[in-house]
């Protein structure tokens, strides 16, 4: 009980800025329904990604290279339990998983289908990272599948009335927060490390250009389209880095500030597009996850409010919030 009060206190005082945005039960119901629709699109995307052909498909491409050379712990555990014979059946596993993900799309409230998708993605990401090099383009889609495991089932009351009861509505909202938290914590950690390890490099004029050029020496097959321009614009590149670090570092706070959902979601999508055009780093699945669950967040205000956005901004919004508090309520 004490922990719950602590969480409530933290949410009210530190994390929340929603004094002007009290929500009615019907708002929460709409948001819960909207979230269930977003999960359907998520599973539709999983179906599409597994069924894709080519190197970007969510299939076990690396399995053709033989047994993993640097197995991650789940692969080691699986190999000890069942041997490596399953590697010969990865195509069958993928085909079955397309069907399971399709069922999760149609019946997102049935745990068994969501669990199937989670296990498939976990196995896929693990195997792809068990050959000596690590990639992180599929971690977030895996995290989302984990959060979605907690969706409430359809109970008798709901089946009879066709309307989600209050307890399920709130459970859906909590799963939405969990999903958003798992997506955004990856950005907050990324921003944190950029500050922690930067040795004030972030405050120099050429830190970003050095990073871009160093990256270009690693991936020389294709020089990114915007790199030749930005490599000569040190101040502009550095400004972009500072904005990126700001949005990344405070990304997790956005979960509790609905006015930031859409702006931060869009900013993070542009961050990924920029990474692609400047560094050849494609986090296309992250773009979709951010787009679905942050930019299209069902908890975001229906109407865009500039004052709500500015007051919700971490650090920058403090004086605006203070000013708004001093103003008498109409």
């Amino acid at each position: 009980m004490y922990a719950y009060r602590l969480v409530k206190l933290a949410r009210k005082s530190l994390l929340s800025f929603d004094h002007g945005d009290r929500r009615t039960p019907s708002d929460f119901s709409r948001a819960a329904d909207g979230f269930i629709w977003l999960t359907r699109f998520y599973y539709l995307f999983v179906v599409y990604s597994i069924a894709l052909s080519g190197s970007s498909a969510l299939q076990f491409q690396n399995a053709s290279r033989g047994p993993p050379t640097h197995p991650q712990w789940p692969i080691t555990l699986l190999s000890e339990l069942t041997g490596t014979g399953w590697l010969a059946h990865v195509t069958t596993i993928s085909i079955v998983s397309v069907a399971v993900a399709a069922l999760a799309m149609v019946f997102p409230r049935v745990l068994i289908w969501r669990l199937g998708v989670f296990l498939y993605l976990f196995l896929f990401v693990t195997l792809q990272n068990s050959y000596g090099s690590l990639g992180h383009g599929n971690h977030v889609i895996l995290y989302v599948s984990f959060a979605l495991l907690f969706l409430p089932p359809i109970d008798k009351t709901e089946r009879r009335s066709g309307r989600m009861p209050r307890k399920n509505v709130m459970a859906c909202i909590a799963v939405l927060w969990f999903t958003q938290s798992l997506i955004l914590i990856t950005y907050t950690l990324s921003g944190f490390w950029k500050i922690w390890r930067s040795n004030l490099d972030i405050l120099t004029s050429d830190g970003m250009v050095r990073t871009l050029l160093d990256r270009a020496t690693e991936d020389t097959v294709n020089i990114p389209p915007l790199l030749p321009f930005f490599a000569q614009q040190e101040y502009l590149a550095q400004f972009m880095l500072i904005v990126t670090v700001y949005v990344q570092f405070f990304a997790l706070l956005a979960v509790f500030r609905p006015h930031l959902h859409r702006p931060f979601g869009i900013a993070l999508i542009f961050f990924h597009l920029g990474s692609g055009w400047l560094m050849n780093i494609s986090f296309s699945r992250n773009v979709l996850m951010v787009g679905l669950f942050i930019a299209l967040s069902p908890m975001a205000p229906v109407r865009f409010s500039l004052s709500g956005l500015v007051q919700s901004l971490p650090l920058i919004g403090i004086p605006f919030r203070a000013r708004a508090r001093r103003r008498p309520h109409a």
Partner: protein, 176 residues
């Protein structure tokens, strides 16, 4: 235990986030570039770069006894970045323990065989210095293909020399 599923998630969410964050500092204890799967630290491009950097490279010495064409010696980094990451894993293993033939055989031999073909390819792993100011000046030439990145490489250390069929070999004096 919990009043409702909502309360369960509200408790679980901060606990899980704290657990996630607690797991990430453990990653460097395994290996700087490894992770306790799937708890990645997301320390991407966090280290400040200086204008002088050092890169790993895999130079092909011969394919079935024939030297490769000029410009094709630098196999890695002129391929997919995942190959460069795999090379980084091998170099770290070799720096930790020079007796790293098995790691080279497991990780690099399949990549070299896939990329150059032939029955036997001999290759050298080197570390090379790069002045990023040179890269900055020539970025447009790099983009249009009139310059290649290895032209800016200044090899300064040989990690070792190997053959895909014979294991460690002595190709040049510095191989030993």
């Amino acid at each position: 235990m919990f009043k409702s599923r909502y309360h369960m998630i509200i408790y679980l969410m901060p606990l899980f986030l704290v657990f996630y964050i607690a797991m990430t500092p453990l990653n460097p204890f395994i290996d700087k570039n490894q992770e306790i799967h799937p708890f990645y630290s997301w320390a991407l491009f966090a280290e400040p770069r200086s204008w002088h950097v050092t890169e790993n490279a895999l130079v092909v010495y011969s394919i079935d006894g024939v030297p490769p064409e000029a410009g094709a010696q630098y196999l890695i980094p002129n391929t997919d970045i995942r190959d460069l990451k795999a090379l980084g894993t091998v170099v770290r293993a070799c720096v930790r323990n020079p007796d790293c033939d098995s790691v080279v055989e497991e990780i690099l031999n399949p990549i070299v065989k896939r990329l150059v073909g032939g029955d036997n390819a001999e290759f050298i792993i080197v570390k090379a210095g790069i002045d990023l100011r040179d890269v900055q000046k020539n970025i447009r030439e790099l983009a249009d293909g009139t310059a290649m990145i290895f032209e800016f490489y200044q090899p300064n250390k040989v990690i070792g020399c190997w053959s895909t069929s014979e294991g460690r070999v002595s190709l040049i004096d510095l191989c030993e």
